[in-house]
Symmetry: C2
Subunit: 404 residues, 2 copies
């Protein structure tokens, strides 16, 4: 789209202050209404544009992909299609456009996992978080792993346990270290992790090493991501192969994928580098976004920071992911790692905020070291533009009691 | 099938001593001939039964699944179908059967990845291997992790880099620890890992904890699995989140899936338990197989041991995998972990055999500490029955030079 982007939409709620979904955003999701078939949509104000219906009416063109119950087929069409559809939707939704679009009220819609998650990788890219957690697991001397400032370390997570916002999460059972040997118990140290998830929109080939610049091009967009973590199970299992069952109880993502295009005006440098990076990780432009991100517990605001505190960007993580020749595929989900600022009220996990449970916090008058049954965690993020905000909508999950 | 299983087939090569594919085996794979469409088949002697053609002729029934280019749709039909097809094929292939079956010569066929790998998890279940590698990475005091004798630890691997036998593997580039800081280099310590891979044949639900007995039922069959490993990249990256790029250069599996049914007569106890297991890991019958497994380098026999040296069975690993509520899906691949006996000539990795490269071995008159460019690694396994052998056929991969 050439020229100025319109600032306002004829969908009035999109123009209201504090709305997460103005015409500048246009995030993608999958929805249904009253039990009909899930299909692709775009959020605008308090409404959803039914993209399948738009395509059926010839208003947009994506080869039928919008009738699918996940966005993978659309995303796989590549950046030219992403741009064309975004431009077309912007024109159709702009104030003064006279097209009658098929809209449904978001309040009437059920939202689904927006993609079929191909594979899920979780990184560890906030230096504050890595240091804080390192102190708790290994003491201050060994807190930050030796390689941490040289590479974006990460681990492969489990794609099958990724769920959409609103899905209840069951407190897991598991094996933990007890006084007299291992114990089988309901998790006693259940935690959240406040993250951003990048969605890979293009394949790479086996043996192909992707540059950071190419990795930027491959990213379709972002979701909020809560990587629920069972800290007691994690502490017992994680050496030497990394977290496993402690991270497989569920990973909640937001239903709306905010595109890279929508976040482009908010590009920002990240945390200051401790040492130069090897050339394969060098960026030729800032890879982060100036974007507030935080979480709530039972509605009370908890940690809040900015995504630009991070040390490695999603593009650097994606580039690193391919260096051994590992092929990436459309629908791969890359968790940023917990996003934490330096102070306790900026942390993205209770483990850090309560210093491993030693300094409980007060939530609506109740004491919390970790998450209790019935607690609901919500994530949010938004970037503030001139007179508009690019937001993600809510990403929530409530904890159900364990089933012993 | 009731009564005695026939011992001989009218496919003569299936009756020869040392044949991996007698009528008692009937492993599943995917093949094509002369560039036609990949489809499902079963190996018998030196031939492949074209299951798609069988289904088209009405000789067997699997809802059209055998016309697919991978076995997932067949496997998803469940144990009753697995049993019915096995019984029917046994009858059709028995000596004296007079049906004219659609066969192709294995020598004329191209073989493919037999399944679309849904997710890949790799375990660490040989006590000898865990101890030997632990000594090299962390010293003898911390060799065996504290939880190792209490749970089958594992990590999520990368499904996108799983390839079929015969696919060349590119030596990876990567970041390693150097004298004066991290270095970017071609891997200098390239290794194999001799493993068995279990293929999950049934889904479990999120929140469902699967018992060891149920896990047994969920396993469709097994493949040979070589989890290529870049030891220098691994040493630098693996703390605290586990192996990542060091394991993503490629994982080679055999083209033939040997069914659990074929291995049933070879059930065996595994390694002696150091301590009792928690009840969720208890087995009510032996979970291993008495089966020789080994590897070759450029044709020379190298490590050779028995699968029954393992400490945790695939069923125990699968059960453990679900304890946090993690859902499993048809096509999930679970690597056993490197299979090593106690002595150097029984080890399933060069890292162990050469004591971290310090004690090189001789291969066809040449010295090897790790794998050199051009080297070909082959895996094999077979269980010896009365007058027949259940084998896997070859599982090979040759190393190509790095692309700097």
């Amino acid at each position: 789209m050439t020229g100025e982007r319109p600032l306002r939409s004829w969908v009035q709620a999109a123009n209201e202050a504090g709305c997460d979904f103005p015409i500048q955003n246009l995030p993608y999701g999958v929805f249904s209404v009253a039990g009909d078939a899930p299909r692709c949509g775009v959020a605008i104000g308090d409404m959803i544009v039914d993209l399948a219906a738009c395509e059926a009416r010839g208003l947009i063109e994506a080869g039928g992909a919008f009738g699918q119950p996940q966005l993978n087929d659309f995303i796989a069409q590549g950046r030219a299609t992403w741009n064309a559809v975004r431009d077309r939707l912007t024109a159709l939704l702009a104030e003064g456009a006279d097209e009658d679009l098929p809209l449904v009220a978001m309040a009437d819609a059920r939202l689904y996992l927006p993609i079929r998650v191909t594979e899920f990788t979780d990184f560890y890219a906030s230096k504050n978080h890595a240091f804080n957690v390192g102190v708790l697991f290994r003491g201050p001397e060994n807190a930050l792993p030796a390689q941490w400032t040289h590479m974006p370390i990460g681990y492969n997570g489990r794609a099958s346990s990724v769920v959409v916002s609103g899905t209840p999460i069951r407190r897991p059972m598991g094996q933990v270290k007890g006084e007299a040997g291992p114990e089988w118990t309901a998790c006693r140290r259940l935690d959240l992790e406040l993250e951003l998830g990048a969605i890979v929109g293009m394949d790479s080939q086996m043996g192909e090493r992707v540059s950071v610049a190419r990795a930027e091009e491959m990213i379709f967009g972002y979701v909020l991501l809560n990587d629920w973590s069972a800290r007691d199970i994690q502490a017992w299992e994680y050496q030497p192969l990394g977290p496993f069952q402690s991270k497989a109880l569920g990973t909640t993502i937001s239903p709306w994928i905010v595109t890279q295009a929508a976040l482009e005006p908010f590009r920002s440098a990240g945390a200051e580098r401790v040492n130069p990076l090897l050339p394969y990780l060098a960026e030729d432009r800032p890879g982060f976004y100036d974007m507030v991100i935080g979480w709530t517990m039972n509605g009370q605001p908890m940690g809040r920071t900015n995504y630009n505190v991070m040390y490695y960007s999603s593009a650097q993580q994606l580039a690193h992911h391919t260096q051994s020749g590992c092929p990436m595929r459309v629908g791969d989900l890359l968790g940023s790692g917990t996003i934490s600022g330096p102070s306790p009220d900026q942390t993205g996990a209770l483990l850090e905020m309560t210093q491993g449970g030693k300094v409980p916090v007060t939530v609506n008058g109740q004491t919390r070291s970790f998450i209790e049954d019935g607690d609901e965690i919500g994530l949010y993020a938004h970037a503030e533009g001139a007179g508009y905000r690019i937001g993600f909508g809510p990403c929530t999950g409530q904890i159900l009691p364990a089933m012993p």
